[in-house]
């Protein structure tokens, strides 16, 4: 971890009476994310030393860390001051993870918004697929749903706002984009991102207590296009628990 005092001071924002968000910036940026990881690491150390009384857990995101606490055990304003001080002192950290090659079907049944995005961007749908599969995405954070990865690196050419009214049902394992981000929905849920494809790979296994989420911050993801027939075969294998997740890691390709 390196300490760089040239960073601007973080902002502390209220998330009700039981959480503070310590915000290091407002954009998707590797330098800001490095500070997020550095601050989280400092909290890890202090927590294991028993020095964060009443703090329940914290959630690193692209540009902030939300610290959830028990207001019956910790005075909110005292914790505010402590976090502000710690955030000013914590350094930057970069995570090194795995590179996953994950199959995605981009055919119409799996990609309800692909044609609309192509039309809005004035490019053929194949060009959208090409941009999606040629990009090496980085996992910045998990959130929203169990195992839901927020991926940075989406080409600017595909930058689209979220839907004004979120869908009530997004099919599970949809690959989606919003702004300069990409993501995969491990579960059926409401959601406002635009759906460009679908993977057969299960991204979260609650029975795996050691590592329930497939992806971790710092991992890289490359989408590999498959046709609908291949999707069906892989989907059956995954559903039956016969799919070997380590086959998604190409040898000699640590991220």
């Amino acid at each position: 971890m390196s300490t760089d005092i040239s960073f601007p001071p973080p902002r502390l924002l209220s998330v009700g009476d039981a959480a503070w968000t310590v915000e290091f910036g407002d954009s998707i940026d590797p330098a800001i994310h490095g500070r997020v990881l550095g601050f989280s690491s400092l909290l890890d150390t202090l927590s294991s030393d028993g020095r964060l009384e009443g703090v329940v857990e914290w959630v690193p995101t692209f540009r902030s860390v939300t610290v959830h606490f028990d207001p019956l055990r910790t005075d909110a304003m005292a914790l505010h001051d402590l976090l502000a001080e710690l955030a000013g002192k914590s350094g930057s950290l970069s995570a090194a993870g795995c590179r996953w090659h994950i199959p995605v079907c981009f055919e119409a049944a799996c990609a309800p918004d692909l044609d609309e995005v192509a039309a809005a961007k004035g490019m053929p749908r194949d060009e959208v697929v090409r941009l999606m599969t040629e990009t090496v995405f980085t996992v910045y954070m998990l959130g929203f749903l169990p195992g839901f990865p927020y991926l940075g690196g989406l080409p600017a050419a595909l930058d689209m706002p979220r839907l004004a009214t979120p869908r009530k049902v997004v099919p599970s394992r949809s690959i989606a984009i919003a702004g300069r981000m990409c993501a995969a929905y491990p579960w059926e849920s409401p959601g406002g991102w635009r759906l460009l494809g679908r993977t057969p790979v299960r991204l979260f296994d609650p029975a795996n207590a050691r590592r329930p989420a497939l992806l971790a911050p710092g991992d890289e993801v490359v989408w590999e296009a498959i046709d609908a027939a291949t999707y069906d075969v892989l989907d059956k294998e995954c559903a039956a628990g016969r799919f070997d997740l380590s086959s998604l890691l190409k040898e000699g390709e640590a991220a």
């Binding site: 924002l13 209220s14 998330v15 009700g16 009476d17 039981a18 959480a19 968000t21 915000e23 407002d26 954009s27 998707i28 329940v56 857990e57 914290w58 959630v59 690193p60 995101t61 692209f62 540009r63 902030s64 860390v65 939300t66 959830h68 207001p71 019956l72 005075d75 909110a76 304003m77 954070m141 998990l142 959130g143 929203f144 749903l145 169990p146 195992g147 839901f148 927020y150 706002p161 979220r162 004004a164 009214t165 979120p166 009530k168 919003a178 702004g179 981000m181 491990p186 579960w187 059926e188 849920s189 409401p190 406002g192 979260f204 609650p206 029975a207 207590a209 329930p212 989420a213 971790a216």
Partner: protein, 361 residues
């Protein structure tokens, strides 16, 4: 000693919940847990459980439970009643805010919740296996509960058997009522994404609950909240139950216990802990208002709520229910100290001709 109850009717919108699942929000796992942890604690207190023991949360109508083995005590909190059908075919009415004891073969039919959610506590708590540290059901990812789902007919739920006098029931002194008045919030974390008029509207105008509501969140309908030049999208960051996010359509969405851990819509405010349980009792068409408070006010409200619950639980009384006279047993056994039952017992409707304390021969 263990007890087992079988689900003979699954009810509607029933799930197993405890205090919730913490420690996994960093990989996107929602906290879940009881929508109204105060009522959960009240139900648990009635049967002598710790406040956070796993219970059945009832959203619409309650399950029917048959005791298979062990004598099991059930505590009911919320606006719902029940019928106890014993092995002799007698039907006894059970009111909420009290316990009913099931001997093997007895069936407890729990009715509909007339307002909000209700909680059913079993002695020792519902002993489904904990998953990722909690028994709370999170349906979307099939975590917790009975193999990731709601209880269904034929499921056998493990709990503990009653220790001590099985004829001694418990009841709360009066039904628990939440405070009323506007829902208290702390503004932020992105109130700076809204026009001053929008923040003012949010804090003065009424909002009504739409039909789009579940354990994840509820959509409100009211004066449209306009975003300022910072816009209706942010780089996703952390949220909590109670967080009120406002997408581009300007209509607030209040996040509930099963809510996501992060989100990309600006969040105008977050409901304070002490008022989260009240959200669980809103129904489509209900109107609500918001008021901004400070952290100090929020902490005070929470401490007061904890104290009020402790006072309520401390005032739980035991009583011997009046019951139907079982003449065969009366004449066939020495019942000098036996319990004689009336037709029913209930919290408010205790038959004055059978004051509790039972009738000793």
């Amino acid at each position: 000693m263990s007890g087992v109850v079988e689900v003979v009717d699954s009810g509607l919108a029933v799930s197993i919940q405890d205090r919730g699942r913490t420690g996994y929000r960093n990989i996107g796992v929602p906290v879940s847990g009881a929508l109204d942890p105060v009522l959960m604690a009240a139900a648990n207190a009635l049967v002598g459980n710790p406040a956070e023991a796993a219970v059945l949360e009832v959203g619409l109508s309650g399950p029917s439970l048959k005791a298979l083995s062990g004598t099991v005590r059930v505590g009911l909190a919320g606006e719902m009643g029940a019928q106890l059908v014993n092995t002799r075919g007698q039907v006894l009415k059970v009111a909420p805010w009290q316990t009913a004891t099931l001997f093997p073969g007895d069936i407890l039919r729990i009715g509909g919740v007339s307002h909000g959610v209700g909680y059913v506590a079993l002695t020792g708590g519902v002993q489904v296996p904990a998953q990722l540290g909690s028994r709370s059901t999170y349906l979307r990812a099939a975590i917790g509960g009975v193999q990731g789902r709601a209880p269904k007919v034929g499921d056998r739920l493990q709990c503990e058997a009653v220790r001590g006098d099985p004829w001694l029931e418990s009841r709360g002194r009066a039904p628990w009522h939440h405070e009323t008045g506007p829902i208290r919030v702390i503004l932020g974390p992105q109130e700076d994404h809204f026009t001053p008029q929008a923040v003012a509207s949010f804090l003065t105008r009424p909002y009504s609950v739409t039909r789009d509501m579940d354990r994840m969140g509820l959509r409100l309908d009211g004066e449209k909240l306009a975003h300022n030049e910072k816009g209706a999208e942010i780089v996703s960051d952390g949220v909590a139950p109670g967080t009120i996010q406002v997408p581009a359509n300007g209509q607030p969405i209040v996040l509930m216990a099963d809510c996501q851990t992060s989100g990309g819509y600006p969040k105008i405010a977050t409901v304070i802990r002490a008022d989260l349980p009240r959200l669980a009792h809103l129904r489509p068409g209900d109107e609500l208002r918001f008021v901004a408070v400070s952290h100090a006010d929020a902490a005070k409200a929470l401490r007061e709520q904890v104290q009020r619950l402790a006072d309520w639980a401390g005032a739980i009384q035991t009583f011997r229910p009046p019951g139907v006279i079982d003449e065969a047993a009366l004449y066939g056994a020495n019942l000098i100290c036996g319990v004689v039952r009336g037709d029913e017992w209930s919290l408010h409707g205790v038959d004055l001709s059978h004051p509790f304390g039972a009738q000793h021969g």
